[in-house]
């Protein structure tokens, strides 16, 4: 089974209780949406709005590229990918 890693930053880390988890993909055609269905509920509640879109100001990136520049939640993922779930980290230098 192909697997991806999901990493949680800042408050998402606190909500997940873990920095990183591994998720098995349902099949070869999986998307970011499929992966995010399997992350801890507490994170999901904070991450998605009522319409099922990513809530501002959270960010999701696949291998370091924000999904806004890919195909959004429909971005395809493959074995070994790293998905980052992070708030926009402001005020940080």
């Amino acid at each position: 089974m192909p697997k991806v890693k999901v990493a949680f930053i800042q408050e998402f880390y606190q909500l997940a209780g873990k920095h990183q988890i591994e998720i098995e993909l349902p099949g070869d055609e999986a998307t970011v949406r499929d992966v995010l269905e399997k992350i801890p509920e507490a994170v999901r509640e904070r991450l998605f709005d009522e319409k099922g879109e990513i809530r501002y100001p959270a960010e999701v990136a696949v291998n370091g590229r924000r999904i806004d520049f890919l195909d959004g939640l429909d971005t395809k993922v493959k074995d070994g990918d790293l998905i980052l779930v992070s708030p926009r980290a402001l005020f940080v230098i």
Binding site: I9, Q10, E11, P57, G64, R66, A89, F91, V92, I93
Partner: protein, 619 residues
């Protein structure tokens, strides 16, 4: 508005007061801008940075100590021994406000003393004291002794700026320290104070900071505070500190690892802000008057890395001494950070320099250093084995660098000189001699332009392109795509940050705000009627002025990046296979066009447009 400078003549142990004309402040504001102007006028061209003719300007700005928002900082300017051009650095803590309360808005350190000296300034009264008993001592001890001598035990009253043994022994990567753990770190200006034999300055007093229009001031600063708090997410900074960036930058493949040969570090999580907060954090702390309080207070209880309660480490220090040397142990990093602060080093330059040494050691072992250099390195290392990830060797090196023993004597010169001496110049990752900070421009491509055109050399605080390439502020951009809009943002940030450093406020404000937010506060404090455009133009003027210093010195105005970043593709992470070459080559021509520069030099018409006619002679 009144701006009072105190000139400290160390040759004669004399002090004199000077008022800065308001017309000059309107052009250069204060802090970094005023420092650049005075340095260009007063420091003769071509001098040795360690000669008594060099000067160090320790300056506040018009809003420092007013209590509005993050206004607790100060700026230092002088000719840098590391880069040979204008150097400057900024620090928080309490020193800036207390300097103003003590009666002065800035200090100019001139000449050189024969004997170690420290200076106290209390309510306008200046005294010179012999510092023989403090010479050779660490920063923490020095501050404790001075507080005793000044009968001011509470660390909330008064403030001390000092140098550690690194600065005394003229290490070109020494940091000016204040309030024990705060550093005006970059460009090695502490070594200039070392050459002048100035160990410390104590400031205390009760002068009130003049605010011309108090009502307007309240109104304008409230607007800024509202914006900051509204824009702030989850109190990220107060909760996790700057090190919250480790995991983010690592996941973008831009966390320079093993002396910039990789873009990701497998132990990133173990050196992250999240990990630090969970295991070692005691509390957070802020600079004078700050609500964000991003500073960490940490401690390691026992074991080889036992460290007393102290401030830090910050993201940059964790990266430079951690990922870049492949030390993935947070306890070791807390200890190294403490040592670096106490001995008075710039942790960014220190981490880079030790990483170079580790690379040289590896090269010597596998036969890729010139034979006689490998032999010399072996001899100088003595009992130290600087293999990758060896934290104990790092700790020993810090001591030897501070006191210039054995290999430490060479490493104290910084990454560039160390690498050149041992016949491997491309091992040093620097711009204009200043070691680069924690973002790989091969993965975050706007940083290629930001680093290459930074006036003080390899620095992330001239334009923090990470804010739009990674953090999505003010707009989101793809860090791997070349886009000329990013060039405009880099130029804007360079000008805007020049304003921020000249008002002397904290850059953490700057993401939620822009220059239009600050002009109201500045006008309320000073009684001026400046427009937002005029304020931003002052920033542009300052940026050009700094560049003129390099042009005058005849070097340091060529905008490029280290060979490794231009020619060696990243082997890992999201930016695998990329160099910074394409981005830099595409960005530079447009950058020069919008700056009104040619080949790194301002054009005469640009100087005229900015009211810098008096410096046309330099071109």
């Amino acid at each position: 508005m009144e701006f009072k400078l105190l000139r400290l003549n160390l040759t004669e142990w004399k002090a004199r007061e000077e008022k800065i004309p308001e017309s000059l402040l309107r052009k250069y504001i204060g802090g970094r801008g005023l420092g650049a102007y005075l340095a260009l006028k007063e420091i003769p061209p071509g001098i040795d940075p360690f000669s008594p003719e060099n000067k160090i300007y320790i300056l506040t700005g018009p809003v420092v100590g007013t209590g509005a928002f993050e206004t607790g900082r100060y700026h230092v300017v002088g000719k840098s021994p590391l880069t040979g051009i204008l150097g400057d650095a900024n620090s928080g803590g309490q020193f800036g406000p207390w300097l103003r309360f003590a009666g002065y808005d800035g200090i100019v350190v001139e000449g050189a003393s024969d004997e170690p000296v420290w200076v106290s300034i209390v309510d306008g009264e200046v005294q010179f004291h012999l510092a023989k008993h403090l010479w050779g001592k660490g920063v923490v001890y020095t501050e404790n002794i001075i507080r005793k001598e000044m009968n001011t035990p509470s660390e909330h009253i008064g403030s001390i700026l000092s140098i550690g043994p690194a600065g005394e022994n003229l290490s070109k990567i020494a940091a000016i320290m204040n309030d024990k753990y705060r550093a005006a770190g970059r460009t090695g200006l502490a070594a200039v104070l070392g050459a002048k034999k100035l160990k410390a300055i104590f400031v205390k007093g009760s002068r009130k900071i003049e605010i011309v229009d108090k009502e307007k001031f309240k109104e304008e600063s409230k607007k800024i505070i509202d914006k900051i708090t509204k824009h702030s997410i989850s109190e990220a900074l107060s909760k996790f500190g700057t090190a919250v960036l480790v995991n983010i930058i690592n996941s973008h493949g831009g966390l320079p690892t093993k002396n910039w040969t990789r873009g990701t570090f497998e132990k990133a999580f173990e050196i992250s802000g999240e990990y630090l907060a969970e295991k070692y954090l005691i509390s957070n702390k802020g600079c004078w008057g700050c609500v964000i309080r991003c500073s960490r207070v940490a401690k390691v209880d026992s074991g080889p890395y036992r460290t007393p309660v102290s401030e830090g480490p910050e993201y940059e220090s964790i990266w430079a001494m951690g990922a870049n040397t492949t030390i993935g142990n947070m306890e070791a990093l807390i200890k190294l950070n403490y040592l670096a602060n106490d001995l008075g080093f710039d942790t960014i330059s220190l981490g880079n320099t030790v990483a170079v040494l580790m690379e040289l050691y590896e090269k010597a072992k596998n036969g890729s250093l010139p034979e006689e250099k490998a032999k010399e390195l072996e001899e100088l290392l003595g009992d130290i084995e600087p293999s990758w990830g060896n934290a104990d060797a790092f700790a020993q090196l810090v001591w030897r660098m501070a006191y210039r023993h054995g290999i430490g004597d060479y490493a104290a010169e910084g990454a560039k000189r160390l690498a050149e001496y041992f016949g491997s110049p491309d091992s040093a990752i620097h711009v204009r001699g200043l070691e680069l900070p924690a973002y790989d421009p091969r993965a975050i491509n706007s940083m290629a332009l930001s680093y290459a055109t930074s006036n003080r050399g390899g620095c992330h605080l001239r334009a923090y392109a990470v804010s739009f390439d990674v953090l999505g502020v003010p707009d989101k951009f793809d860090p791997l795509v070349v886009d000329n809009k990013k060039v405009e943002l880099v130029k804007y940030q360079q000008d805007y940050f020049s304003v921020i450093d000249s008002l002397v406020i904290c850059k953490f404000n700057s993401f939620a705000t822009d220059h239009t937010d600050y002009v109201g506060v500045l006008n309320a404090v000073t009684g001026w009627d400046m427009t937002a455009d005029e304020l931003l133009t002052a920033g542009e003027r300052i940026y050009n002025l700094e560049r003129l210093f390099a042009v005058r010195e005849g070097h340091g105005y060529k905008d490029t990046l280290p060979k490794r970043l231009l020619e060696e593709p990243l082997p890992d992470g999201p930016a695998k296979g990329r160099t910074a070459k394409e981005a830099l080559e595409k960005y530079l021509p447009y950058y020069y066009e919008i700056r009104g520069w040619e080949d790194g030099k301002p054009k005469p018409e640009t100087l005229k447009r900015l009211g810098l006619e008096e410096f046309l002679y330099i071109l």
